[in-house]
């Protein structure tokens, strides 16, 4: 849940408190219910939001922004090297980037810092063979499916916080065991039928 910028709800009475009115700092309290609020302010609090528009270009002396021909270049994109005006400069993870590089980086999945969600394919794939143990008749279908999905999703980016793929490996091992079981079952059936 995201609150309105610059406000927090009082945890006790739910009143919306304006942080600007709590500027004195330290331990203050809600005016309605007197519930104490501890606030740590940081230097960024005193900095207004950046509203750069880019300076006008002086022809013959300045380099121009790649995206705005009439604006003076203030920085260069760290990825593509294009000159950028104050309006186009994006400070991304401590580096200067242009919007098009960020866009293409996000599309190609090269910038993990831009990921706002990821699907946990390894956990998803592991559930299939485990669930099929309970509903064993579906093993005929789920075991090959598990192997297929393991291969298909192997290189897809998983969780940001675990680099290993042991869930994929475990799913594949269980699926292989299930396939062996199916093969043994069919073999036994055929053998019994012939006798």
């Amino acid at each position: 849940m995201i609150e309105t910028p610059g406000t927090i709800p009082c945890a006790a009475c739910g009143s919306l408190l304006d942080l600007a009115r709590l500027r004195p700092g330290g331990r203050v309290s809600c005016g309605r219910c007197l519930n104490p609020i501890e606030i740590d302010f940081f230097p960024a609090d005193s900095v207004p939001l950046m509203t750069g528009h880019g300076e006008a270009l002086e022809e013959g002396t300045d380099s121009a922004c790649f995206f705005h021909a009439g604006k003076k270049a203030a920085a260069a994109c760290g990825a593509c090297g294009r000159y950028l005006c104050g309006l186009c400069v994006i400070d991304f993870a401590g580096e200067t980037r242009c919007a098009s590089c960020l866009e293409s980086g996000k599309k190609k999945g090269k910038l993990s810092e831009l990921d706002d969600r990821r699907t946990l394919y390894d956990s998803m794939v592991l559930v299939i063979p485990l669930a099929s143990i309970i509903m064993w008749p579906v093993m005929f279908f789920t075991a090959p499916l598990t192997l297929f999905l393991t291969v298909w999703y192997w290189k897809k980016p998983g969780s940001l916080f675990r680099a290993n793929r042991w869930r994929f490996v475990l799913a594949a091992v269980i699926a292989l065991v299930e396939l062996l079981g199916i093969a043994w079952f069919l073999f036994a059936m055929v053998k019994g039928f012939r006798q």
Binding site: M1, I2, E3, T4, P5, G6, T7, I8, C10, A11, A12, S15, L16, L17, D18, L19, R21, L22, P24, G25, G26, V28, S29, C30, G31, R32, L34, N35, P36, I37, E38, I39, D40, F41, F42, P43, A44, D45, S46, V47, L49, A93, G94, K110, L111, S112, E113, D115, D116, R117, R118, T119, L120, Y121, S123, M124, S159, L160, F161, A163
Partner: protein
């Protein structure tokens, strides 16, 4: 491809109605994770963007204690009635176990300390962190990130007025800030 970031878990995984939450620390930011089924949703808070951290105590600990006491009490009454009717040993043991578990839950709830809600405030959002629910977790988080925030915002600190000017200026921190009046609340 950029190098994979190193994350350290700051708060243990916590399940709520809205998903499974966890909090991780990287070199330049905090990342709050909400997992719903097989999808992780990330929200990053870069240290140079954080304007404030607010911590407020809640009444959740009291409500939890109340729930345990009422629930345990009712169950004990029920068992006590059954024991009185049957006068069996098994009932007495069950009564003792329930009483012990309820007492233990109440004790743990007390020992974990006051419950709090912690908000991270940036220029564009004020977000509560569901992983931080107890005072000691909030203090641990503040200790872990305070120096990192100050380091990330050191340029802003340097850009602040010189000490002499600050000393001659009227105090920025009021000794006893008056509570807000009703009229000062946002609509």
């Amino acid at each position: 491809m950029s190098a994979p970031l190193q994350y350290r878990r700051l708060a243990r995984v916590r399940g709520t109605f809205s998903g499974i939450h966890s909090l991780w620390l990287a070199e330049t930011h905090l990342i709050a994770v909400r997992q719903i089924f097989y999808t992780e949703h990330y929200r990053r808070f870069y240290f140079h963007d954080i304007q404030a951290i607010t911590v407020q105590e809640t009444r959740t600990r009291f409500h939890l204690a109340l729930a345990w006491a009422i629930g345990g009490g009712l169950f004990a009454l029920l068992l006590g009635g059954l024991i009185a009717l049957s006068s069996g040993m098994a009932g007495a043991i069950a009564f003792a176990v329930v009483a012990l578990l309820t007492g233990l839950a109440l004790l743990i709830n007390q020992l974990l300390g006051p419950t709090v809600v912690l908000h991270l405030v940036t220029a564009v959002q004020s977000t509560p962190l569901p992983t931080v629910r107890r005072r000691r977790h909030a203090d641990k988080l503040r200790r872990a990130i305070h120096s990192k925030i100050m380091l990330a915002q050191r340029d802003l600190v340097l850009a602040s007025p010189p000490l002499a000017a600050v000393e001659s200026a009227p105090p920025a921190v009021a000794p006893e800030p008056a509570p807000l009046q009703d009229s000062e609340f946002l609509p």
